[in-house]
Amino acid sequence: MPSTLASVADSMLSETARTNALAEFRRAPGEHERPGRYWKIDLDGLEIPFEALVQGSVEISFSGELPDGVIACDLATAEREHGELLRQVFGCTEAASRKFGTLARAYLTGGAFIYIPDGVELPHLTVTHRLVGHAGVASTSVLAGNGARGTIVERIEAPAGAFVCQTSEIVTGERAEITSAAIQQLPLDARILASRGARPGRSSRIAFALADLGASLAAGSLDVTIAQPGVESRVSALFFPTSTQHVDLVTRVHHDVGDAVSRTLVKGAAAGAGQARYVGSIRIAAHAQRSDASLRDDTLLLSEHAHIDSIPALEIAANDVKAYHGATVGAIDEDERFYIETRGISRTQAERMIALGFFESVVDCFPTETLREQLREALAAKIG
């Protein structure tokens, strides 16, 4: 046993692990390289501050009550004391093989590990990753046991101009219910590359509520792998690039077995010269009968120079499935605005109301009123 633990430890923070991960990163196919009609940035050709990453360090802190049995610690402690558990989540989701996920592993200096044992409920835990230098990796691994429940909020604090590589993985047992929320509000000249992955267990519910508001460049992917029946996955995301911000978001839900439900809801608006690309992928494997998947993405353009490319990708190989895709694209509706104006509300305020309302169905998916209010205020401030 001890030797196994040692080798697990070795595979995470060691020099060999880094070298291997970096080689993997260089080999990994780019997933963001396909420029859209307006999307001109080649993310795979992105200049990465390798030097700064090597020196980077990230402080982890937790806030929230920890019920008996719940573990919330840094990665080094987890390797030392809970290697067996850590090994069940670290590197076990699709996030690990995504390009930015391999980058995260190559420069991992620490991270957060959270474990919720069987049947335990963790009401609300906030994990904060604080970058000490100008570059760093923010890594979160969550393992939930059978019937475990919990809400986990991830926060990143970083200085102006920071480069953040984020990776976040969730693995659950049976009948677990986990909600993961993150509001990305990095400084406007920071960059963040994120990869998230989840592997929910049989009859589990997994919910993501994600918002990208900050950073000059926010590129992220989320992979939910449904490999057990009875899963209910909810992915709710919003993004809102303004001024010259860029957002690139990929969500993938992979129904690898049948009898599971997935709902993906994405609301993207852009103002100023903000640009975004969203790829929403739903894959239903041939044997994944009775899958029930929906993808809804709505786009709102608030200025002439704002652009969003929204690309649905549905691959459905099974025949007995329910699959829905709906999308809207457009500017503010004139009749909607007029209706509000006839109530004495100015044009500017009416447009603000419509834009805030546009995001509301995603805002509503965030787990606490505090977060929802924080989000509404941040969105309102961005609308200006």
Binding site: D333, F338, E341, T342, I345, G357, F359, E360
Partner: protein, 256 residues
């Protein structure tokens, strides 16, 4: 003697390059009810939109004043702040904006700071009850997924909460069943009995005279093809009820 009235004079307006209003003259007095009746497509909604300031409805000539102030020079929100209200025939949905918040924002825009939130809430609950509406509606998004009847009631709820000087009700009655129609009638009656709404002048647009049994009009105008072709008392509405628009159409075309 006073200028207190909503006055439309010789108004011509077009939409999408097509002339719809062809010289409308109309006067709505405070505390009075004018009815505007006419078959589908005669231009009633066009008049309502033009007065409220919809950007697609272009005034070619003529005037519209509210208590002596030129309405046509103002943006829609300023017209509302002068005291004009439009109950839409087809109200727009505003996803993500809750009914209670929306009405509060409107009340704030029209009468800044006149009601603290608690009093606003009490008034809202009161008016909701008169309209026989479910309070859960306040937490729903404005007109989003509403039935036709719910939309119309929400228009009347806003009317009751905003107590404008002049209200244009564009087919607020259509799509309402008998009970809903009575509730709407009661709500308007209650508003007019109230200090806030006592002086509200109404322009009630309809093509069925049913609603006029609940709110007796002081004057009835008949509109055909963008013109007001006949004006009379409440008995004119009764005549439409019996005969429809055909005989009036025949009379007026033979005169012309």
């Amino acid at each position: 003697m006073s200028h207190s009235a909503l006055i439309v004079a010789d108004l011509y307006a077009e939409v999408e390059g097509k002339r719809i209003l062809k010289g409308i003259d109309l006067r709505v007095e405070p505390g009075k009810v004018s009815a505007l009746m006419g078959p589908n497509g005669s231009g009633k909604s066009t008049l309502a939109y033009t007065l409220a300031g919809h950007p697609k409805y272009i005034v070619e000539s003529g005037t519209a004043t509210l208590d002596g102030i030129d309405l046509l020079a103002l943006s829609p929100d300023k017209r509302a702040r002068l005291g004009l209200y439009l109950s839409f025939q087809y109200p727009a949905a505003i996803p993500g904006v809750k009914v209670a918040n929306f009405i509060y924002a409107a009340r704030q825009a029209l009468r800044p700071g006149d009601l603290p939130p608690a009093k606003f809430r009490a008034l809202l609950m009161d008016r909701l009850q008169v309209l026989d509406m479910d309070p859960s509606l306040l937490g729903r998004y404005v007109n989003d997924g509403f039935s036709g009847g719910e939309k119309k009631r929400l228009e009347v709820l806003q009317l009751a909460m905003l107590a404008p000087k002049y209200a244009i009700l564009d087919e607020t009655d259509s799509g309402l069943d008998v009970d809903a129609l009575r509730a709407v009638g009661d709500s308007i009656t209650a508003l007019r009995a109230d200090d806030e709404g006592r002086q509200t002048g109404f322009l009630i647009i309809t093509h069925y005279p049913r609603i006029l049994e609940h709110i007796r009009p002081d004057v009835v105008h008949i509109m055909l093809d963008g013109r007001i072709v006949k004006t009379g008392g409440a008995d004119l509405a009764d005549r439409i009820e019996r005969e429809g628009y055909d005989t009036i159409r025949e009379e007026t075309t033979s005169v012309a």
